[in-house]
């Protein structure tokens, strides 16, 4: 079984986001970038499945500008076998990314495609579902547990009401929740070894996919600030304020 894992480079989750004064977006210059957190879970799961002898190859792919390749390199350092970087500059919507991934899937013929359930920059939560639609493959979204059984997967999904378990036939798409596993750290020797692993570069224009945006981002602004609250001295004052001032209890 061959697993393709898609990873995205985003602003690190620990960075306080700042909105640009001209309203065109958020500040990304000189800001720490990392792999989208649930994409790390996707890589970890694929590597674990390979380590358990149930997969033969793990291929990490990213779509984006030159620097996005760092995320593939990181995936190689934690156990992916080789990488693919589809190079494209500018804003990419999930629909465009899923079309690019579809082309790569046609060529690579993986049995499974894993990725994070959502990217923490645009918070769209679309790419995996869109890719499964384009391929007409089953989708297991928001996965918190995956059991590989021959040519099937049993997947537990995090849903609003609790947990749902489904069985999907391979080939299939899985989008990963943060609860799926605990991603490992890359050891120094493995980081060194990863430098020798191959990353194939593909120009998006060679794939014949129209990636032009359909959405216009008219403005990005800071959310309205909450008015400053007060500190209360003790519990009695707190309860009195909640009862008589806020009138919520």
């Amino acid at each position: 079984m061959k697993i393709l894992v898609a990873v995205k480079r985003v602003i690190d989750y620990n960075v306080q986001i700042r909105v640009k004064e001209d309203g065109t977006g958020v500040v990304t210059d000189n800001v720490k970038m990392s792999t989208n957190p649930p994409d790390d879970n996707a890589i970890e799961e694929a590597v674990k499945i390979k380590e358990a002898g149930k997969a033969t190859e793990v291929v990490a792919i990213t779509v984006g500008e030159q620097k996005a390749q760092e995320t593939v390199r990181k995936a190689l350092a934690v156990g992916a076998d080789r990488g693919i970087h589809v190079k494209v500059d500018g804003i990419l919507e999930p629909l465009a990314v899923s079309k690019i991934l579809q082309k790569v899937v046609d060529k690579e013929k993986p049995d499974l495609v894993f990725m994070g359930k959502q990217a923490i920059d645009d918070d769209c939560n679309q790419t995996g579902q869109m890719l499964s639609a384009l391929l007409n493959w089953p989708q297991a979204t928001f996965a918190s547990k995956i059991d590989v059984k021959d040519n099937k997967l049993e997947v537990t999904r995090e849903i609003d009401e609790g947990l749902e378990t489904i069985e999907i036939n391979v080939p299939a798409i899985v989008t990963c929740d943060l609860r799926l596993n605990e991603p490992r750290y890359a050891s120094l020797p493995n980081i060194m070894k990863a430098k020798k692993k191959p990353i194939e570069e593909i120009a998006a224009s060679d794939l014949g996919v129209d990636v032009s945006p359909r959405l216009e981002q008219l403005k990005v602004e800071e959310p309205p600030k909450r008015k400053a609250g007060i500190k209360v001295a003790n519990v009695a004052e707190l309860v009195q304020k909640l009862k008589n001032e806020a009138k919520v209890i």
Partner: protein, 317 residues
Amino acid sequence: MAVLLIAEHNNKELRPFTLNAATAASQIDSDVHAVIIGQNSADAAKQLSELPVVKKVLSVEGAHYENFTAENFAPVIVKLAENYSHIVCSANTFGKNLMPRIAAHLDTSQVSDIIKVIAPDTFLRPIYAGNAFATIKSNDAKKCVTIRPTSFDPCESTGGSAPIEKVDPSEEFSNTKFIKREEIKSDRPELGTARIVVSGGRGMQSGDNFKLITEIADKLGAAIGASRAAVDAGYISNDHQVGQTGKVVVPDLYIAIGISGAIQHLAGMKESKVIVAINKDGEAPIFSVADYGLEADLFEAIPQFMEELNKLNTIQK
């Protein structure tokens, strides 16, 4: 052209967020039709027809729709979509799972999780876990939009009498099989819709100590929430998690106890009407969003809080 609302239900009745999505749909265009896909879901369809904002109900039934599998739902909606300008549903796990599958088939760039309808083609949505708001204009002929339920009021649920039209089912998608759903049953109000939420964080120090949170929640008729740190530490199950990767809540009163206020937690609760923070670290970020902050050891403050609440005998339900 009219707007098509996708109803969320459990085959017996509508799920509450369908009413919020109906409000959002009616703000895009007053001509709202609603599709309900399920099995033996006639009662829920009737309920849908009684929403005054809904002008027509399309009902699709089939055994393969019983468990709301996106692979089965998408083809029906894609077929219906030719008559509509917009497809709308809630941005909860139901809609998040389903809508992109529809959008890709329609070759449409979806607009996810909107919090405001600015114009029929322009929407406001949070990005970066709510740390920025983006105004997005869609240039696609058909627009697929998911709405953040807590940002729209529920519509009226009675008084309407829309006609219910049967629609033929699509073929079954055989590569996905539903096995089971484990719903967490509770006598408490549901976290997503509760008027009061009491949440505990890593400061609770153990799962046992969460009983203190439970006591207060019982007293106030509140739902129980938790930070990701508390869930990850195993103090409480993950269906209680509030935040970017959990649930977004907008109660009248949110009480955060022993929660430092990581960005991802704030994203899930900072729109609450009144926020209380109890934390012994006076510098904790949670205080920056709290209307009432109490800098105190929670193990001293919670028993006192219970005592003070017991003195009040007029707690609103």
